[in-house]
C-alpha cells in the first residue's frame, strides 16, 4: 500500500515539479513566491537574486513532501560575490527521490548588476535522472536558465525567470522533454519589515500557478512567513531565526488531502568585508 502510494506520488510529483527547482524553506513559507526576491535563498527561485548578495554565503536544506522520506529534496547552494561589482558566482545542487528513483540537478550561475537597478543571471544546468534499474538506467541532459530583476523604486521589484527555453530533452525516450517554464513575479516592500510577493509560474505541461505570500520581520532575529499557492492548492507558513552569521528557516505547506510537507534550511554567511 505504502509502496503504491509512493510510486503514485513519485510520478505525480515528478510531473508536478518536473522543472525541478525545490522550494527552500524561505520560499515555501511565503507560498513558494520569490521570483522578485533579493534574499540568498531566492537564488533558487531566480538566480538573478544572488546579485544582491554581498557576502560569501552557503546553505543546505531538506524538504519532505507529505512527510515521506522517499519524496524528499536535498539541496545546497554556495554564493561567491566578487568585489567591485564583479558579479556573483554560485553553485547549487538539488536532489529529489531515493535510490531507485532520483533526479539530480546541478547549476552553475553568474549573476550581476547592469546599471544601479537591474540584475540578471545566467545559469547552466546539468540534470541526471536515475531509475536505479538496468532497463531504464540513467539519463543526463544539459540546459540553461536565466533571470532578471528590476528595482522600479524603493517599494517595487519586478522579476522574471525563464527555464530551459531551448526545450532540451531529458532522454530520447518518447521525446521526453524537460518542461520549459516562464515565471514572472513582483515584490512589494510594504514597510521596512514587511514584504509581499506574488509570482505567476507557467510550466509547459502543467496549469499556470499563482504563488503569493509575505514575510514579516517581527523582531531583528525573527521573521514569520505565510502564503498560498494554486495548482495544486496549498497553504504554507514558516519562520526564520537570524543569529549573527547564521540563519535557520522552517516552513511547511499544507495540502487538504496529502497533509503537511515540512522543510528546513540552514544558511551561513561570512561577515561583510
Amino acid at each position: 500500500m505504502r509502496v503504491t502510494l509512493i510510486l503514485l506520488l513519485l510520478v505525480g510529483s515528478l510531473v508536478s515539479n518536473a522543472q525541478y527547482a525545490p522550494e527552500s524553506a524561505v520560499s515555501l513559507g511565503s507560498g513558494g513566491a520569490g521570483i522578485a526576491g533579493d534574499f540568498f535563498w531566492n537564488g533558487m527561485n531566480n538566480p538573478a537574486a544572488l546579485a544582491w548578495t554581498e557576502e560569501i554565503s552557503a546553505g543546505v536544506g531538506y524538504n519532505t513532501r507529505f512527510m515521506l522520506s522517499e519524496l524528499s529534496d536535498r539541496y545546497f547552494m554556495v554564493a561567491y560575490p566578487r568585489k567591485d561589482n564583479g558579479g556573483t558566482f554560485s553553485i547549487n545542487v538539488n536532489q529529489y527521490g531515493f535510490s531507485s528513483y532520483s533526479l539530480t540537478k546541478g547549476g552553475l550561475a553568474y549573476s550581476r548588476f547592469f546599471g544601479p537597478n537591474f540584475v540578471a543571471a545566467l545559469q547552466f544546468d546539468v540534470f541526471q535522472f536515475n531509475l536505479g534499474d538496468e532497463t531504464y538506467g540513467s539519463h543526463t541532459a544539459f540546459t540553461f536558465e536565466g533571470g532578471s530583476e528590476y528595482k522600479l523604486n524603493d517599494k517595487i521589484r519586478l522579476g522574471t525567470q525563464i527555464f530551459n527555453p531551448a526545450e532540451v530533452e531529458l532522454s530520447a525516450y518518447g521525446n521526453e522533454k524537460i518542461p520549459p517554464s516562464i515565471a514572472a513575479g513582483c515584490a512589494l516592500t510594504l514597510t521596512e519589515d514587511a514584504v509581499f510577493m506574488v509570482d505567476i509560474v507557467k510550466e509547459m505541461y502543467r496549469p499556470a500557478a499563482l504563488r503569493t505570500g509575505f514575510s514579516y520581520l517581527v523582531m531583528n532575529t525573527l521573521a514569520i512567513r505565510g502564503g498560498v499557492q494554486t495548482a495544486p492548492f496549498s497553504i504554507s507558513g514558516g519562520a526564520g531565526l537570524h543569529l549573527k552569521n547564521f540563519e535557520v528557516d522552517f516552513a511547511t505547506s499544507y495540502h487538504q488531502i496529502l497533509g503537511v510537507s515540512p522543510s528546513i534550511s540552514l544558511m551561513f554567511h561570512l561577515n561583510k568585508q
Partner: protein, 691 residues
C-alpha cells in the same frame, strides 16, 4: 541551434547598455488597439495604414506653433477637445515657448504629453506645408522595400502528387511556391506628394508563370498630391476614403473598442494614398478635394474587379452567375483562380465638408454599381444582405466641440431604405475625468460596402448598441479606464439562428511609475449568445461568457533595453458545457540604441488553451510595415527573434524568425497548410533602400 540562438540573445542583452528611450507610449497605444482588431477578425490584415501616419510624424514632428486642426487630428493621439484647447491656448497666449508649457493646456495631462512628445516640436520651420519646387528634388525621398516570408516546414499543399491524382482533385495542391514576396517603391516629398507601386505574391501563388504571367498576383499603384494650387488633394490609382464616422464611406481599417475607453470618435482624413496589400479594402480610380471658402469638396470614382464564387450551375458560354463575393485575396488554387476578378465594381460619389470654428458638418453620397447581379444569400441570416446590381448610400455627419465636450455622429441611408445612425459624446467634466457615450443603430437592412464604424459585429448592419466608457486619473501615476457596451443584433447572424444580445465590459488599472513605464491589470468580460450545441431539431441560443484577466508590465531597464512581461488567463463558458480555460505568458526583450546599427527584439512565450475558442492574441514586433498578431492556442511554446541592421546609410535589413512548438499535437494547421510535425517556423527577411 536553438541553444546558440538563445544564449546569444541572452548574452547580447546582457552586454548592452544605455541610450535613447524607446518611444513606447504611442506604440503601446497602437499595439493595444491593433490587438483588439485582430481579436475581431479571423483573417490576416494589413495594418500598415493604421501606423503610417505615426511613422511619418516621428520623422517629421509637427510644429505645434504652426499647425492646424487637420494635422493634429491626423496624428490620431489627441481628442478633438484636446486639439481645440491646444489651438485656443496658442491663440490666446501666443506661441508655445517650450514643450513644458503643454502642461498648462487644459485637458493635457502628463501621460498625454509623454505620448505625443516624440511626434511634436515647437520650433523649426523645416516642414513643408506647401510646395517649393526648387527643393522637390533635394528633399524628396525614395524608398524601396522587398520582403520575403516563408514557412520552413513542408505543408500539405506543396507536397508531391501524381498527375493523375492532381487531375482528379485539382484543388488539393497549391499552384505556386511556398513563399510570400512583397515589394514596394514609394517616392515622397514630405506628405505633399506620394507616388508608389506595391506588389505582392501570397503563399502558394505562382510567380511569372502559369496563372500569373505578369508576375505578382496583386499590384497597386498610387499618385497622391496635396496642397498644390487649388487642389487640396488629388489621388490617382489606389486610394482610401475616410469620411464622418464610417457609416457611409470608410474604405480602410479603423480602430474600434479598446482599453483606451474614451477614444470612440473617428477622425477621417478624407483621401489617403493606398499602400497596403489588402486586396479588397481600397478604391481604384481617382479622387480629389478642393476648397471653396469654408467648404471642402470631394469627388471620387473607382472601378475595380472583385473576386466571387461562380455558381456551379452556370452554363458554358453563357454569362455566368455568381453565388457570393470572396475576400481572401488568395489566388493559389485552381478554384481561387477561377474566382478571381469575375465581377466589376464601380463606385462614384462625393463628400462636402463644412467647417466653421468648432462646428463640422459633412454630407456624403456614394453610388455603387456591380457588373452583374449579386444574388440573394441562401441562408436566413443573409436575408437582408445586399443583392442586386446597384446601391446608393447617403450620409450626413456632424461634430461640434463645446467647452470640454464634443458631440458627433452620422446618419446614413441605403437605397433600399435601410438606415444607420451613430451618435456620440465625449466630455471631460474636469481634467481628471473623461467619459464617452455612444449610441448606434444599424438597421438589419442597411446595406453598405465600404464602411467601418464603432461596432461589435463585423458589418455595419444589424446592430443596436449603447456604449459608456470612462477614464479617471487618480494621480500622475495612476488611472483607471473602463467601458460597458450593451449590444443586440435584431436579426440572425452567422452561427446565431435568432436575434441575440450581448454585453462587453472592460476595466483596466494603469500604473505609470515613470515615463515609458506602464504596468496594468485588465479584466474583460464578454457575454454573447450563439447556437446551442444541444438543439437537435431546431436551433436555440445559449449564452457564452468569456472572461479575460491580464497583467502586463512594460519597463525600460536602461535607455536602450526594454522588457515586457505579460500573463493572461481566460475562461470560456459555453452554455452548459464545462468551463474551458486558456493561459498565455511571455517575456520580451528589445534593444534599440541611437547610433547603433543593430536593434533587436525577442520573445519567449508559453501558452496553454483547452481549445481554439480560448485563444489569446498578443502583438509581436515585426519587420517595419509587417504585422504579426497571432492567436496563441492549444499547448506549447513560441519564440521569435527579430534583428534590424542598418548596413549603410540608406540600406537597412531586417530578419525575423518565429517558431511555434505544440506540445500536445503531431500536426499543425489543416487542409493545404497542414504540417506533419509539431512545429511551425516562419522566416521573414526584408530589405529597405532609401535614397
Amino acid at each position: 541551434m536553438r541553444w546558440l540562438l538563445f544564449i546569444s540573445v541572452f548574452l547580447i542583452s546582457l552586454s548592452l547598455s544605455a541610450q535613447i528611450p524607446d518611444d513606447n507610449d504611442a506604440n503601446e497605444n497602437i499595439e493595444n488597439k491593433i490587438e483588439n482588431i485582430a481579436e475581431q477578425t479571423d483573417g490576416e490584415l494589413d495594418y500598415t495604414q493604421l501606423t503610417e501616419a505615426l511613422q511619418y510624424f516621428y520623422k517629421h514632428p509637427i510644429n505645434l506653433n504652426n499647425t492646424d486642426y487637420d494635422e493634429l487630428s491626423e496624428l490620431g493621439l489627441l481628442t478633438d477637445v484636446q486639439i481645440q484647447h491646444l489651438l485656443n491656448h496658442i491663440e490666446k497666449n501666443g506661441k508655445l515657448l517650450s514643450l513644458y508649457e503643454l502642461q498648462a493646456v487644459e485637458g493635457f495631462d502628463l501621460q498625454t504629453i509623454n505620448t505625443i512628445l516624440p511626434f511634436v516640436k515647437i520650433s523649426g520651420d523645416n516642414e513643408r506645408k506647401s510646395w517649393n519646387f526648387s527643393d522637390v528634388i533635394q528633399n524628396s525621398k525614395s524608398q524601396w522595400f522587398t520582403r520575403y516570408t516563408s514557412v520552413l516546414q513542408e505543408q500539405q499543399g506543396y507536397t508531391d502528387i501524381s498527375d493523375s491524382a492532381l487531375a482528379e482533385s485539382p484543388n488539393s495542391r497549391y499552384l505556386g511556391s511556398p513563399y510570400k514576396l512583397y515589394t514596394r517603391y514609394k517616392f515622397t516629398y514630405y506628405n505633399l506628394l506620394s507616388v508608389g507601386v506595391t506588389a505582392e505574391k501570397d503563399y502558394g501563388e505562382e510567380f511569372f508563370k502559369g496563372t500569373q504571367k505578369s508576375g505578382f498576383d496583386f499590384y497597386s499603384a498610387h499618385f497622391f498630391i496635396k496642397n498644390l494650387g487649388p487642389l487640396k488633394m488629388l489621388a490617382l490609382g489606389d486610394y482610401n476614403l475616410q469620411f464622418g464616422q464610417g457609416l457611409t464611406m470608410w474604405s480602410g481599417l479603423a480602430f474600434g473598442k479598446s482599453s483606451q475607453a474614451i477614444g470612440i470618435k473617428k477622425s477621417g482624413v478624407g483621401i489617403r494614398p493606398y499602400t497596403s496589400v489588402d486586396e479588397n479594402l481600397f478604391l481604384r480610380g481617382g479622387a480629389t478635394m478642393f476648397s471653396i471658402k469654408d467648404f471642402d469638396i470631394y469627388v471620387f470614382g473607382s472601378y475595380k474587379k472583385l473576386d466571387a464564387n461562380i455558381n456551379a450551375d452556370s452554363s458554358d458560354g453563357e454569362e455566368f452567375v455568381i453565388s457570393s463575393l470572396t475576400e481572401s485575396g488568395l489566388h493559389n488554387t485552381q478554384s481561387t483562380i477561377i474566382d478571381k476578378d469575375v465581377i466589376s465594381e464601380m463606385v462614384a460619389g462625393g463628400h462636402i465638408h463644412y467647417q466653421k470654428s468648432k462646428l463640422k458638418l459633412g454630407f456624403t453620397g456614394v453610388y455603387t454599381q456591380f457588373g452583374q447581379d449579386i444574388p440573394e444569400g441562401d441562408q436566413l441570416y443573409e436575408l437582408y444582405y445586399f443583392s442586386g446590381k446597384q446601391n446608393l448610400n447617403l450620409g450626413f455627419d456632424y461634430s461640434y466641440v463645446w467647452r470640454n465636450s464634443n458631440i458627433f455622429g452620422e446618419f446614413s441611408r441605403s437605397q433600399n431604405g435601410g438606415i444607420a445612425s451613430l451618435a456620440g459624446l465625449m466630455t471631460s467634466p474636469d481634467r481628471f475625468l473623461t467619459f464617452s457615450v455612444l449610441h448606434r443603430y444599424f438597421a438589419r437592412d442597411y446595406q453598405v460596402f465600404y464602411a467601418t464604424a464603432f461596432m461589435e459585429g463585423s458589418r455595419v448592419q444589424n446592430e443596436h448598441g449603447l456604449y459608456l466608457g470612462g477614464e479617471l486619473k487618480f494621480s500622475r501615476k495612476w488611472d483607471i479606464t473602463a467601458y460597458t457596451d450593451l449590444f443586440s443584433f435584431p436579426w440572425l447572424k452567422y452561427r446565431v439562428d435568432a436575434p441575440s444580445n450581448g454585453v462587453e465590459m472592460l476595466g483596466q488599472v494603469n500604473f505609470h511609475p515613470k515615463r515609458h513605464y506602464h504596468i496594468y491589470a485588465r479584466f474583460k468580460q464578454e457575454h454573447k449568445e450563439i447556437n446551442s450545441s444541444e438543439g437537435y431539431y431546431f436551433s436555440t441560443l445559449q449564452p457564452t461568457i468569456k472572461r479575460n484577466y491580464r497583467v502586463h508590465a512594460s519597463y525600460p531597464i536602461s535607455e536602450s533595453v526594454t522588457l515586457k512581461t505579460r500573463a493572461e488567463y481566460m475562461t470560456f463558458n459555453d452554455g452548459n458545457e464545462p468551463q474551458r480555460q486558456g493561459f498565455l505568458i511571455y517575456q520580451d526583450i528589445s534593444f534599440r540604441k541611437n547610433g547603433s546599427p543593430f536593434a533587436f527584439s525577442a520573445r519567449y512565450a508559453l501558452f496553454d488553451t483547452d481549445t481554439y475558442d480560448e485563444r489569446l492574441y498578443a502583438y509581436e514586433n515585426d519587420v517595419l510595415y509587417a504585422f504579426s498578431i497571432p492567436a496563441y492556442y492549444y499547448k506549447g511554446s513560441r519564440v521569435y527573434l527579430m534583428v534590424r541592421w542598418k548596413a549603410a546609410r540608406g540600406l537597412d535589413f531586417w530578419a525575423r524568425i518565429a517558431h511555434t512548438h505544440f506540445s500536445d499535437r503531431d500536426e499543425v494547421s489543416s487542409g493545404l497548410n497542414l504540417i506533419e510535425g509539431s512545429s511551425r517556423t516562419e522566416l521573414k527577411v526584408q530589405m529597405r533602400i532609401t535614397f
